[in-house]
């Protein structure tokens, strides 16, 4: 997990660095109205990890807009359990937030820590990260259908980066939708997974598109499908998994949650700030380059989304016998 996170994050640092000069002259439309001069973002990822970079990139642009100094605090360990408990027990005054990704739901369900996702207030969602299915350039598979046909003979070998992850779940769901049995192998991080796809140990791997950008550019890996609901603007030639005939859609969200009881005016300030930020054309260029899709969801919508996500995941984990 750590290596995937690091790799991911690092790819995301690119926008952070590019942001440096652009923020200087951004118009501070709401500057000074936020009740705190310093706001803490808590993340479970280590410096340079996925959420860490997401937060730092966003903070460098939101800072001048909101007139707030942002501090990113890396509370690592326990698959996010320590970070969750740090925020769940903090004062709900808008001075501290937690960067939520699917892993906070997975950890809550798998490990049952003292504070779970249910102890945090959804604030606003920012992005969706797209999961893609890839294979090595010289593999015999031209479509996802070819991969499934091989799995039907009982010899499918599919890979995901880590055990309790959305990618793993995506593959399990795909196998179920196609009614095949495939060996689904999880790894210690994205690096191992990519190597095992490159050396032919695995038929396919699943991960975020930005993780394999280098291999795609040099044509060592090919994309077979995306797990999104519709084709991606950046990858118009790649079909969705659903188009390939298997009704599986998987969404990796990146949003903010806060301590329970965060007041409505604070939530509103964040809804406005994030909505405006995502519309900024310069920022849009940066995040679409990193294959992130803007997915602004205000609190009401985000709560429903998270609730559904958690129920889905729980049902899935229960059905596959991982939890009881």
């Amino acid at each position: 997990m750590t290596r995937t996170a690091a790799l991911l994050g690092i790819l995301g640092i690119l926008p952070a660095a590019g942001a440096g000069c652009a923020t200087e002259d951004a118009a501070p439309d709401a500057a000074g109205t936020y009740p705190h001069a310093v706001v803490t973002f808590v993340t479970h990822s280590s410096p340079g990890g996925g959420s860490d970079v997401f937060l730092r990139a966003m903070a460098s642009r939101l800072g001048p807009r909101m007139g707030v100094d942002f501090v990113v605090e890396n509370v690592t360990g326990g698959g996010g359990a320590r970070a969750m408990s740090r925020v769940a027990n903090a004062p709900p005054d808008g001075s501290i937030f937690y960067a939520a990704t699917p892993s906070f739901i997975f950890t809550s369900l798998l490990s049952r820590p003292a504070n779970t996702y249910a102890d945090l207030d959804p604030i606003v969602n920012v992005f969706l990260d797209q999961e893609v299915v890839y294979t090595r350039a010289e593999s015999p598979f031209e479509t996802l259908g070819d991969v499934i046909r091989k799995a039907r003979s009982g010899a499918g070998r599919w890979g995901a980066a880590s055990p309790g992850s959305l990618e793993r779940q995506a593959l399990e769901r795909l196998a179920r939708a196609a009614d095949v049995e495939a060996a689904i192998i999880s790894h210690d991080g994205g690096g191992d997974l990519i190597l095992n796809v490159l050396n032919g140990t695995l038929d396919i791997g699943v991960g975020e598109a930005q993780e394999i950008r280098g291999q795609l550019d040099t044509r060592r890996l090919r994309l077979l499908a995306v797990f999104s609901a519709a084709r991606l603007p950046g990858l118009p030639a790649v079909p969705t998994v659903a188009e390939s005939g298997y009704e599986v859609v998987v969404t990796k969200f990146r949003g903010l949650t806060g301590p329970p009881g965060t007041p409505p005016d604070i939530v509103r300030a964040w809804e406005h700030a994030v909505r405006d930020l995502l519309a900024d054309p310069e920022y849009r260029e940066v995040y679409s380059g990193a294959m992130l899709s803007a997915a602004y969801m205000p609190r009401a919508e985000f709560s429903v989304f998270l609730e559904a996500f958690a129920t889905d995941t729980e049902t899935f984990l229960r059905e596959s016998g991982v939890i009881d």
């Binding site: 750590t2 290596r3 690091a6 790799l7 994050g9 690092i10 790819l11 640092i13 690119l14 952070a16 660095a17 440096g20 280590s46 410096p47 340079g48 509370v75 690592t76 360990g77 326990g78 698959g79 359990a81 320590r82 408990s85 997975f106 950890t107 798998l110 490990s111 049952r112 820590p113 003292a114 009982g154 070998r157 880590s162 055990p163 309790g164 992850s165 793993r168 060996a183 689904i184 192998i185 999880s186 790894h187 210690d188 690096g191 191992d192 990519i194 190597l195 095992n196 490159l198 050396n199 140990t201 950008r213 280098g214 291999q215 550019d217 040099t218 060592r220 991982v322 939890i323």
Partner: protein
């Protein structure tokens, strides 16, 4: 290639690369020497500062930090029985006995000298053999990783100390500790007792620092050694001509092992250090000195882990896949400046690659200079009166461990490992196999289970993978060789 090197040397004059290399090394030594601050954390701490830097200097700064940190870990290993990094644990086996014999300055000199040699050899290999070595990295399947882990555990057969049985008991203890945390296949928590701090497992560095350093402090406090005056001079001693000849063989072994292990993503410096230590002992003319202060026992692992620092860049430069956490941070350094490591880097940004090579070259040179300047200070520090020194070491260890995650739980774990270390040492169990068990446990377990998932449960899959067959055969040879040697020397002693 020659032309590129000349160009590279030219860059030294025109850009502040030399400054970056020197600064990175100094920072790396400091981070490496602090227990708990790993090479990758030292690098990650610097990463934000490189955003505004010129790309070549930024990359050199990070790579130099890596070089410095891999070396820095050996300083506390030799002086205070505390491995500053995972890979330095093997250095402690002979470094600390040398320090106790008043030869601390000599031990530090040997470790620095060997580290620099390992760094240069690794760099040479990186420059000349990146492409063929990349093919080797690509051959590593889960089956091969399992075999590699078994090979690492095989070292125990010869390093278990006087009793093989006690050695096996210790390795089992280590393997048991390695099973704590999330299951590598299902993600379900195992043996965590509802404690969220245990979900990520027990970090090997906590166990190492506890078993080696804390137990040493506990035992020292209860022994006469407390009062023994430290008369060693605060001067670093470079190996003389005869010693340099003697160190040639272990250094050769260290560079060979380090080169290969570095290239394999995820294998890393720790396995390299232990394997090369073991081989250096096997091929040494004075194997009985090992564990009692053999200079060769310092040279081999130190050459190996510094060679790893260079060759770990092979998978990064050839596929853009970081082979270690440190390489992952370096990848960040590349991407921040719009450079995408991978085969295309050599064509599109050859100057960045040459800049990196040059930077590593200068970093190894500065390691010699900066290391040489820093060591007398460290020696002076450890020659302070015992009570002050002991307090200082406790503070150093505990603050280092605390700074990893800011977790009091980690501190408790380290102290508990220290208590366990005292018990093991008093009962005559060797510590090394326990540490190897913790380090290699998850590598062996997760790849074993992955392999069986791939084969649908058939063990024959290990025999179908060429790299696994080679590694398992070597492991079988090493273990049977050690066991036979053990039986022979045992019967010799009976006759004597």
């Amino acid at each position: 290639m020659m032309e590129a090197v000349v160009d590279g040397l030219g860059m030294l004059v025109t850009t502040p690369i030399a400054l970056a290399a020197g600064g990175g090394v100094a920072w790396g030594i400091l981070g490496g020497a602090l227990p708990g601050i790993s090479p990758s954390i030292s690098m990650a701490l610097l990463l934000p500062f490189t955003y505004g830097m010129e790309p070549h200097s930024a990359i050199v700064l990070l790579a130099a930090t890596y070089v410095g940190a891999e070396y820095g870990g050996s300083i506390p290993a030799i002086l205070i029985h505390t491995p500053g990094t995972n890979a330095a644990a093997a250095t402690l086996l002979d470094g600390y006995p040398m320090k106790l014999q008043g030869r601390g300055g000599e031990a530090l000199g040997i470790s620095l000298y060997s580290g620099v040699i390992g760094g240069f050899i690794g760099l040479l290999v990186l420059m000349v053999l990146t492409r063929p070595l990349a093919d080797l990295a690509l051959r590593f399947t889960p089956m091969s990783y399992f075999a590699l882990g078994v090979l690492g555990l095989g070292v125990i057969a010869s390093l278990a100390g006087p009793s093989l049985l006690k050695g096996l008991a210790a390795v089992l203890l280590g393997l048991m500790v390695a099973t704590v945390g999330s299951d590598p296949v299902s993600g379900v928590p195992r043996f965590t007792f509802g404690q969220p701090d245990l979900l990520d497992g027990v970090a090997p560095i906590l166990v190492m620092v506890g078993l080696f350093a804390v137990s040493e402090l506990f035992l020292q406090a209860s022994r006469e050694v407390w009062n023994r005056a430290s008369s060693a001079s605060a001067r670093i001693r470079w190996p003389g001509a005869r010693m340099r000849r003697r160190l040639l063989k272990p250094q050769l072994i260290g560079s060979a092992v380090g080169t290969v292990e570095g290239v394999i993503p995820g294998a890393g410096g720790t396995i390299a250090a232990f394997l090369s230590y073991n081989e250096a002992r096997r091929w040494s003319r004075a194997p009985e000195e090992f564990g009692r202060g053999s200079p060769e026992g310092i040279a081999a692992p130190e050459t190996a882990n510094n060679a790893v620092a260079a060759t770990a860049l092979v998978p990064l430069l050839s596929f853009g896949i970081p082979g270690s956490n440190s390489a992952a941070v370096l990848l960040g350094g590349f991407l921040v400046h719009g450079l995408l490591p991978g085969p295309q880097l050599f064509d599109e940004n050859a100057d960045a690659v040459v800049g990196l090579y040059t930077g590593l070259f200068v970093a190894n040179l500065s390691l010699l200079v900066i290391g040489g300047a820093a060591l007398p200070v460290c020696l002076w520090l450890v020659n302070r009166p015992r009570p002050i020194l002991m307090a200082f070491i406790y503070a150093l260890i505990l603050s280092g461990i605390y700074s990893i995650n800011g977790s009091l739980f980690d501190l408790g774990l380290t102290l508990a490992a220290g208590m366990a270390g005292v018990v093991l040492r008093v009962l005559g169990f060797p510590l090394l196999p326990a540490v190897l068990g913790v380090v290699l446990g998850s590598l062996v377990e997760s790849n074993y289970r992955r392999s069986l998932l791939l084969s649908g449960g058939a063990h024959s899959i290990f025999l179908e993978d060429p790299a696994a067959v080679v590694l398992l055969s070597i492991a079988a040879l090493l273990v049977s060789g050690s066991v036979i040697a053990r039986i022979r020397s045992g019967s010799k002693q009976e006759h004597a």
